[in-house]
């Protein structure tokens, strides 16, 4: 009933608890994505002093492509998993009512 919405209970059933934690994970996803995609910033760039001096080898483009596209695909995969979970809830933000077909 409407009461559920206006005054959400502090303690939830196991199922609702899981759902909320999953939503937390979903909120975390873009942060993880940003972190993963910021990693290439740490690689030595081809025009950096160390590479020019020959101390470190520059990351080849093929490796960069593999890493970035791999990370990208991984994020998409996680997003699919979360989407599937959300699909099972039916209604993402309202407790399921008992006895509802």
């Amino acid at each position: 009933m409407n009461d559920d919405r206006s005054s959400p209970s502090v303690f939830l059933e196991h199922q609702s608890y899981r759902r909320n934690r999953l939503a937390d994970a979903a909120r975390l996803l873009p942060v993880i994505g940003a972190a993963v995609l910021a990693v290439p910033l740490l690689w030595p760039s081809a025009d950096s002093a160390q590479v020019v001096a020959g101390e470190v080898e520059a990351v080849p483009m093929s490796t960069a492509i593999l890493y970035i596209f791999g990370a990208w695909a991984g994020l998409i995969g996680l997003s699919v998993v979360f989407g599937m979970a959300a699909r099972r809830w039916g209604q993402p933000d309202g407790p399921q009512r008992p006895g509802q077909g």
């Binding site: 009933m1 979903a26 996803l29 873009p30 690689w43 081809a46 080849p60 596209f69 699909r87 509802q100």
Partner: protein
């Protein structure tokens, strides 16, 4: 070999196909068969208008110049999409519950429906997007020119004419399918479906070229990788500032671009589509960029140095003689450009017409302008069509003026930076209740100004900003140099502009918001936006559960009455072909119910009530205002009823009084009749008796004879007097009396009256007079006046019950009237009969009365004839009568002279 004519033929066929698809989709939507039109896949594909010709052609050029940096353009939106639970879901929910029509509308309605803000956002969007449209036109022209160069027949080709016709064609398409109807929800199934088709075409085209390059030209994945590493972009080379800035910029633009907002929020049919789009759209982007680097590398390898890398997608297949593939690639680029231009023009035209044209038109038309709904509707459609044409015209003009040529990507990024200035106001609006209109305006202005100064003007280059300003800053202020603000040099111009404009924009927005105070409607909207998930329920919109149907049932019973509500629900169950008492909460049922309810409580209230129970769209401020209007109407109606009922009550009271008076009068009449018969009978009896004595008794003494005759005469005279009185009254009442008006002094009239009454009277009535006031000359029927006074004095003589009866007569003038008060020292007339004493036949005290109760009635009639009145003065010590008569003006002057 592909001829130009062949290309134009394919192009036109493709456009015709798009027309047919859009038309069919609109037809299907009109019939309500929208199941697959509203699928998450179509929604995801429609989001692909993010990939314009800039990304289709430009990404390869970008990769050829800067390696993997191009991928940031896609990574930003990917991060936004996978974070849908956090941001986009809220945006879409707000868009649905507030019935948002554009990004300008969203910002304006969040900040208290401020039209100023809407105008600012609209202008920013138009300035930001126009170069972008020009860019699309340029890309189509460039691709045409590639084919015309390759055309062996050497057909004539005019660049300007091509651009013009392309722009005109796109405008026609956008007008036809974007402004066909004026839906409250602003959904355009036809356009969206056509865009989805174009999305498939461009993805397929790019993948086909990519597959050809990797497996056809390079011989496999491993070989391609080796080729990439060996090429000039074979090593990781990245400016970290640009990587971060562009990722951020792309993410911001993805949310703020008017066309993205249009497809993502406005055209969204179901919030749950986001769930699919959250992974499907990043996947689409990934596939779009998968083969970009290989194509760039192979292009750099195969084609002669100096050829435009922006067109490798076309030139690589052409150089290998793959005309079909090139044609497909051309169609992909064409799709990217057209879909972007159409949606951008639609979105901008909605903003321009809603926030600029309509307010002007309505204020120009004055108050009565909006009274006819059909009237406004046609004006809105017309203004949108004109706006689309104007926006396309602007794009075309920009293209002609700039002359094309600049690298495609740079215009795109400048445009992105401009649009991203909306982001602080937008995010602040949906996540922070303290954000105010003043803050949003300040942020937007600061951001817009900095963007124009640091990026747009220098980016447009030539002549707009002088070299001196670049080197030394304006007015020699070196810390204001457009590309080195505050003396920080060496930054990439784009990073510099993004950093400063976004930083200062957000700072201005936050600070001004903190120090300003929002208006009530702003605070209300702020709460609605920020807590949208508390105010609206469920992602399904107009659908509900069985439990809600019960609530609806209870509510309907209260409003419609139990029997009617149950019958209505029963009918709906039968219509739905179900059993039981509660129908399924289908949209049709809810609409029917809302309509039924609105008959009783008004449309706005009904909508709000159904919305409250079913959710899907929260109650907006407009709803509340409409409810208030209806309540006001009800109040007015009820106050009218109240006024009427008081009037009725008053009339009823008057009727009751009149009835009482009538009853009393009738009783008096009865009493009088008995009195009259008694009065007539007493003298008649004496007359008869004494007449009999005179006739029958012989030998009466002379004095006895004379005495009896005198008695008979007296009684006969008494009868005559009574009859005279009656006659007098009836003459007075019928108005047939003739008045003998002459001048005289009041004192004389009173002298005559007093002496007439007191002469021969045995009762000792003392009359006190104040002769000073009586010296008044008046023009009246003096005999009649004397009759009135005689009557009143005689009454005092007859009825005054004091031991030593006294009558005070005083004359004075009040308000231009002569007033004569006659006050005795008796007990006066009881209050309950005061109202009756002037009625005919009225007698205060039957046993004491000597007359027939006609005296006062005659007095009043006389005074009315003389233009005055006689009234009973209550509140005096004894019986008191007041005679008023008009005092003519000359007499007044005389009085004043005395």
């Amino acid at each position: 070999m592909a001829s130009l004519n062949m290309l134009i033929f394919v192009c036109i066929s493709y456009v015709v196909l798009l027309f047919i698809v859009a038309f069919m989709a609109d037809r299907l939507a009109a019939k309500g068969r929208t199941t697959w039109l509203r699928s998450p896949i179509v929604y995801t594909l429609s989001l692909s208008i993010y990939c314009t010709a800039w990304t289709f052609y430009g990404a390869v050029g970008y990769a050829a110049r800067s390696g993997l940096e191009f991928v940031t353009i896609y990574l930003g939106p990917t991060l936004v999409m996978i974070g849908w639970w956090w941001g986009l879901r809220k945006l879409v929910r707000i868009g649905r519950s507030q019935r948002i029509t554009s990004i300008a509308d969203l910002v304006s309605s969040r900040y208290g429906k401020s039209n100023l803000l809407a105008i600012c956002v609209t202008i920013l969007a138009v300035i930001g997007v126009t170069p972008y449209i020009a860019l699309q036109l340029q890309s189509i022209t460039l691709s045409f020119s590639i084919f015309s160069e390759a055309d062996p027949s050497g057909a004539t080709y005019s660049e300007t004419a091509t651009v013009f016709w392309v722009a005109a064609g796109l405008a026609v398409f956008a007008v036809l399918f974007g402004t066909r109807n004026l839906d409250a929800n602003e959904r355009h199934h036809g356009v969206v479906t056509a865009i989805a088709l174009e999305a498939v075409v461009k993805l397929f085209a790019l993948l086909a070229v990519g597959v050809f390059v990797v497996w056809g030209l390079s011989g496999g994945i491993a070989e391609t990788m080796a080729r990439i590493d060996a090429s000039e972009i074979g090593q990781w080379q990245m400016k970290s500032g640009r990587w971060t800035a562009i990722t951020f910029l792309a993410a911001a633009a993805f949310i703020c671009l008017p066309r993205m907002f249009q497809v993502m929020v406005v055209e969204n049919d179901d919030e749950r589509h986001l769930r699919t789009a959250a992974w499907a759209f990043p996947l689409y982007l990934l596939m779009m960029s998968l083969f970009v680097v290989p194509i760039a590398v192979v292009g750099l390898d195969l084609l002669p140095a100096g050829s435009n890398p922006d067109l490798f997608v076309l030139t690589v297949p052409l150089s290998q003689g793959r005309d079909g593939l090139a044609m497909l690639a051309f169609l992909g680029g064409f799709s990217s450009a057209t879909s972007m231009v159409i949606v951008a023009a639609m979105a901008l035209s909605t903003m321009v017409s809603n926030h600029i044209v309509m307010p002007i038109w309505l204020s120009y038309r004055g108050d009565g302008g909006a009274s006819v709904s059909g009237d406004v509707r046609s004006v809105v459609l017309l203004s949108r069509r004109v706006s689309i044409a104007v926006i396309m015209g602007l794009g075309y003009s920009y293209f002609r003026l700039s002359g094309g040529g600049t690298a495609l990507a740079s215009i795109g990024l400048i445009s992105f930076t401009g649009i991203a200035q909306i982001l602080p106001a937008l995010l602040g609006g949906i996540f922070w209740r303290g954000a105010t209109k003043a803050g949003a305006l300040a942020g937007l202005s600061v951001g817009f100004g900095l963007w124009v100064y640091t990026l747009l003007l220098p980016g447009l280059g030539v002549g707009l900003v002088s070299e001196a300003v670049f080197q030394q800053g304006p007015f020699g202020l070196s810390w204001l140099r457009p590309q080195a603000l505050f003396g920080i040099t060496g930054l990439d111009p784009l990073v510099h502009s993004v950093m400063w404009s976004m930083l200062l924009n957000a700072a201005a927005f936050t600070l001004v918001s903190l120090f300003s105070f929002p208006s009530p409607i702003e605070r209300l909207q702020g709460a609605q936006f920020v807590n949208v998930f508390d105010h609206s329920s469920g992602p399904r919109g107009w659908s509900g559960s069985v439990a809600q149907v019960e609530d609806l049932m209870i509510m309907s019973q209260r409003i419609l009455g139990a029997a009617e509500a149950q019958a209505l629900f029963r009918r709906q169950v039968i219509l739905q072909g179900g059993r039981g008492h509660l129908p399924d909460p289908t949209p049709t049922f809810l609409q029917t119910l809302e309509r039924e309810l609105s008959g009783s409580v008004g449309a706005a209230t009904a909508h709000a009530m159904v919305g409250q129970i079913v959710g899907g769209s929260s109650v907006s401020v407009q709803d509340l205002m409409a409810v208030a209007d209806e309540s006001a109407q009800l109040l007015e109606y009820s106050s009218q009823l109240e006024a009427k009922s008081t009037e009725l009550a008053r009339t009823a009271r008057q009727l009751r009084e009149a009835n009482e008076k009538l009853t009393q009068i009738s009783l008096q009449k009865d009493a009088f009749l008995s009195q009259v018969s008694h009065e007539l009978r007493t003298p008649m009896t004496s007359i008869r008796a004494f007449s009999e004595i005179l006739r029958d008794t012989s030998g009466l003494a002379e004095d006895e004879h004379s005495r009896y005759a005198t008695i008979i005469l007296d009684e006969a005279m008494r009868l005559t007097r009574l009859l005279d009185d009656l006659l007098d009254l009836s003459v007075l009442e019928s108005g047939q009396v003739t008045l003998n008006m002459r001048e005289g002094v009041l004192m004389d009239v009173l002298d005559q009256a007093v002496s007439t009454v007191l002469a021969g009277a045995d009762s000792p009535l003392r009359v006190k007079r104040r002769r000073v006031g009586e010296n008044v000359v008046l023009k009246s029927d003096l005999d009649r006046l004397a009759q009135v006074f005689i009557n009143l004095i005689a009454n005092a003589q007859k009825y005054c019950d004091a031991e030593r009866p006294e009558l005070t007569i005083s004359a004075h003038h009040i308000g231009g009237q002569l007033v004569v008060d006659l006050i005795d020292n008796g007990s006066g007339i009881p209050t309950d009969v005061q109202a009756m004493v002037f009625e005919k036949f009225a007698r205060v005290n039957a046993e004491k009365a000597g007359g027939a109760g006609l005296g006062l009635a005659i007095c009043r009639e006389i005074m009315h004839r003389l233009g005055g009145d006689v009234t009973y003065l209550s509140g005096q010590s004894g019986g008191a009568f007041r005679v008023t008569m008009p005092l003519s003006l000359p007499k007044l002057a005389e009085l004043a002279a005395q």
